[in-house]
Structure formats: structure tokens, C-alpha cells
Amino acid sequence: MLAYAFRRFLGAWPTLLLIITLAFFLIRVAPGGPFDTDKMLPPEVQANLDKKYHLDEPLWMQYGRYLWDVAHGDFGPSFQYKDYSVTELIGAGFPVSLRLGLSAIALALVVGVTFGTLAALRQNSRLDYTVMALSMTGISIPNFVMAPLMLLVFAVYLHWLPAGGWNDGALPNMILPVIALALPQIAYISRLTRGSMIEVLRSNYIRTARAKGLPERVVLMRHALKPGLLPVVSYLGPATAGIITGSVVIEQIFGIPGIGRYFVQGALNRDYTLVMGVVIFYGVLIIVFNFIVDLVYGLLDPRVRY
């Protein structure tokens, strides 16, 4: 097990290098540069800006310089937000994204697994249809409809909750964004749970367990849930990382200072360093989550060998 972890750790480095390389060259190929504006920037000033940020050097030299800096923990200054370094921006945004994301995924897991299991137990019953239809609304109604709708009702009409802002993660500020972020995930998780639970519940060892006269609760909790959650676990790796970083829409609509928006904004602004910083950060996150998922997978399914 420890050896496996170590192997994965070693394996992560080439992955990361490849990610950096790909991202670095891809964004440089895109038309436009960080200092393009519809105001007039004299060519001399443009040239000086380029020089200051080493954009006038050949690409391979910039690449080498970047790798060197990153290896020394320096992600450079943001091109767009000139008073901040990329490290500062990510450092400020990440705790927010993390908190929001983990809350959403926790909510989605609890509700999703419960929904899915209930539906599987009463397959094709009215309960099944109701629960699944309910969860399906989570993906049928896009985030950018659901979020403003909730804001309109709960913040603007009823005045129960704030209409945006983070306020250092105060509970009232968290409720709507967490729900909005969790809704589609609830749908995915309950569907996955239902699908695999139905399969598991029909398998021989569950039949055996039931035949042995074990109480349904024990059958469910001890025997069925573990294998039934395998696809959910598979899904959680990318979902968790994605939910933390990819919640651009939610962050935008609720005015939350996370790092999700830096992806799109950074790419649109050609803020090379910021994009690279977030890409690397995201890459590390994914690698870590995938590793955790694989570990959990092994714990749940003893037949999987490393």
C-alpha cells in the first residue's frame, strides 16, 4: 500500500510537467496578448511591458524561465491584477472555493446516495419515480437558471437570505450557492447510486444474506452499500475537483471570491501567469483526488488489486 502510494507520487511529476508544458504552449498560441486593449497603447509602451514580463524573449526561453520560477515556488505576477502575485490570488481564493465545494459535495453525497438507495429499494414504484424525477430537475434546469431564480425568490422577494457576497463564509451567504452547486451533483449521484444498487441488490450474495434472515437494514448497510457505491466513488474524484474549481457560473452569480472564475477570466484576459497558476493548481488537485479515489476504491472493493 505504502509502496503503491510512493509509486503514484513519483508518477505524478511527469504528469504535472506535461500539464504545464501543454498549457504553456497552448495559451501562447491563442491570438491576442495580455496587454491588448481598445485604448491606445503606444507601441513603445507595449514593447516595454513585454520586456518587463519577458514576453519579448523566444518562447522556449520563457518556458525555461517559467519552469525554473515554478520550481522555486514563484508563480509570477498576475498580468491583469497588477497589485497581486498569482500565489496571492490563488491563496486568497482557494479556501473560499474549497469550503464552498466541499460543502456542496457533502450535501450532494448525503442527499444523492439516500435518494438513489431509496429509489433502488423500491424500483419502479411511485417513490422511485418521484425521487428520480425530483433529482432529475437538478440537471434539467441549468445552473444559470436555477441560481438567479433562487436569488429572486429567497433574497429579493422574501428577504430571507443575502443576494450575494461571501461575508467570510457566513452560513446565510453559503446556503443558496451550496444548494445551487449541489443540485446537479445530487442528480448525478442519485442516478449512479440507483443504477448500481439495483444491480447489487439482485446479486447472489445479497440474496444469500437475505436468505440467512439478516435484517434488511444490516443487509443494506453492511453488504449492499459498499459495492453499490463503487461507481459513485469513481465519479467523485473528478467531480470534487471540478466542483471546487469549475463553479464559474455560481461564483459569478453569487459574487463569491473563489478561484473558479480565474479559469475563464484568466484565459479570456490572456493573463498567462494566472492561467498557468490555476492550471497547475487544478492539476495537483486532480492528481490528489484521483489518488484518494483509487485508495477508497480499494477499500470498498477487495477484489481490486494494486
Binding site: 440537471i139 441549468p142 437558471v145 473528478p238 475537483a241 479570456l268 490555476v278 492550471v279 477484489r303 481490486v304
Partner: protein, 301 residues
């Protein structure tokens, strides 16, 4: 007792009789026909598809023509704008149906692309295991770690935009999930008795993957497809939102819903109709998927 019977049956299947394969699908069809929710959904979906294809021809309005005297008016019979008009005075009935063509096409084609790549990739990686699996999954990890929007933005920017590229871009990104899930399932499948039996009988690797692994994955795959089609349709709308999706004056449900969401309070009709079509379609796909899943479950035989 039961186990031995099952093993015998599986041995037979492992030997690969064509007839056995076909009757699986016949069985499935019979079972599907008994699933009311799925059948109703299929019918609704059929109606929507027909509407989307033919109804725009029935309306006197064009999808890209503006009616200056009726800008952003609610649905009414008198003006002939039965779904109302948008903020430039275009008929929303025609636009909703026209948008449906694009959305359905994107959803289905992109999903097929991702399915094809994902299953093949995942099943091979999972079944072969070892170093191959490791390398293949590392590639997936790397691709996963690329921020998706960044990727698509660059694609659109570099190669210009066209609808085929949207299919490919979305499909090429979605297969990653599929590959992961399929690989996970395959990992646990390959230690099942019937696979080991097939191996013992000397059936080739590719044949095992095609004949035994893939059909047994169908349950998961179908569930996944029902989740992917709506996802793809939504991704398309997000792309439109960023300005990288369908070009105006063409449209899609996602794009229409996106526009409608901004005006939900002042012009609810511009949200309700496209959203209704979108949600209904997604629901239908879902129920059909469910029905298929139940019908295809080989363990029920």
C-alpha cells in the same frame, strides 16, 4: 446449484453464439415495451423530434426575421406569435423549435463520439490492467487536469468555430468520465467467474472485451448516456454563453434558456417555453435510459 447452472450458461455465452446475443436484445425489447414511463417518454421525444424538424415550416415567421412592432411581446394568438417574441422581435415559437434541432443534434452526436472513445478506451485499460492500464489512465489524468473551458476556448479560437468542432470538442472531453467509469467496472468485472471461464476456454482478448465486457457494461453505460446527453446540451449552452457556441442568428435551447434566464422577471415567456422543451427532453431521455437499463440487465434473465 444455481451457481453451476449460471456458469454453464456463461460458458455457452463465452463460446459466443450469435443467436444467444440476438435474443438478449429481443428480450430487452419485450421488457422495455412493458415499461410505461419509458414508452411514454419515447413517444413524447418522438413528437418533439418531429415538431423540431417539421413545425418551423408551418409558421409564417422566420427564425432570423425581426418584427419591429412586436418586440418582446407575450404570447398571443392575434399577433401569431404563440410563444411571444424576443428582445429583437423574433418569433420564439420558430426559434424554440429551430434551437431544438441544434440542441438535439449536438446532444446525440457528441454523446456518441464520447461513448465510442470512452468505452473502447476504458474497457481496454481496465481489462488489460497493469502497465497499459497505468499509462492509459495517466493520459486520462493529464487530460482531466486541463481546465475544460480553457481547452475549448483555445480550440474554438485556433480552429475557428463550426458546429462539427462543437460536437468533437464536447465529445472529446466527455469521454474521459466514460472511460473512468467503464474502467472501474471492468476492473471488478474481470475477476468475475464468466470472464475467467472465457479466458480458460482460450477466447481472445479483443473478443472477450467485445463480447463479454462491453455487453456487461451496458447498464452503467446507458445510465451514463442519459446523464451525458443533458450534460452535453448544457455544455453547448455554456459555450454559447461564452460566445463560442452556435452563431447568431442560429440558436439552441441552451442559448435561448440562457437569454431567457436574464429576463425571467420581465419576459417570463422567453424562459418558460425553451426551458419547458429542454427539461421535457432531458426528462424523457432519462426515463428511456432507465427503462433500457432495466431491460438490458443480463442478470435478470
Amino acid at each position: 446449484m444455481v451457481d453451476r447452472e449460471k456458469t454453464a450458461g456463461l460458458m455457452q455465452a463465452a463460446a459466443g453464439e450469435e443467436i444467444e446475443g440476438r435474443s438478449l436484445w429481443q428480450d430487452a425489447w419485450l421488457r422495455l415495451k412493458r415499461n410505461r414511463a419509458a414508452m411514454v417518454s419515447a413517444m413524447i421525444l418522438g413528437v418533439i423530434t418531429l415538431l423540431v424538424i417539421f413545425a418551423p415550416f408551418l409558421s409564417p415567421y422566420e427564425y432570423d426575421g425581426a418584427d419591429w412592432d412586436n418586440i418582446s411581446i407575450p404570447p398571443s394568438i392575434e399577433t401569431g406569435h404563440i410563444f411571444g417574441t424576443d428582445m429583437v422581435g423574433r418569433d420564439l415559437f420558430v426559434r424554440t423549435l429551430y434551437g431544438g434541432r441544434v440542441s438535439l443534434m449536438v446532444g446525440v452526436v457528441a454523446t456518441l463520439v464520447s461513448l465510442l472513445i470512452g468505452i473502447t478506451y476504458g474497457a481496454i485499460a481496465g481489462y488489460l490492467g497493469g502497465r497499459v492500464d497505468n499509462i492509459m489512465m495517466r493520459i486520462v489524468d493529464i487530460l482531466y487536469a486541463m481546465p475544460f473551458m480553457f481547452f475549448v476556448i483555445l480550440l474554438m479560437v485556433l480552429f475557428g468555430r463550426n458546429i462539427v468542432l462543437i460536437f468533437v470538442a464536447i465529445g472529446a472531453i466527455n469521454w474521459l468520465d466514460m472511460a473512468r467509469i467503464v474502467r472501474g467496472q471492468t476492473l471488478s468485472l474481470k475477476h468475475k467467474e464468466f470472464i475467467e471461464a472465457a479466458e480458460a476456454c482460450g477466447v481472445g482478448t479483443l473478443t472477450i472485451i467485445r463480447r463479454h465486457i462491453v455487453p456487461n457494461l451496458l447498464g452503467v453505460v446507458v445510465v451514463y448516456v442519459t446523464l451525458t446527453i443533458p450534460q452535453v446540451i448544457l455544455v453547448e449552452s455554456f459555450l454559447s454563453f461564452l460566445g463560442l457556441g452556435v452563431q447568431e442568428p442560429a440558436t439552441s435551447w441552451g442559448a435561448l434558456v440562457n437569454e431567457g434566464a436574464a429576463d425571467m422577471e420581465v419576459a417570463p415567456w422567453s424562459l418558460i417555453f425553451p426551458a419547458l422543451f429542454l427539461a421535457t427532453t432531458l426528462f424523457c431521455f432519462n426515463f428511456i435510459g432507465d427503462g433500457l437499463r432495466d431491460a438490458l440487465d443480463p442478470k435478470d434473465r
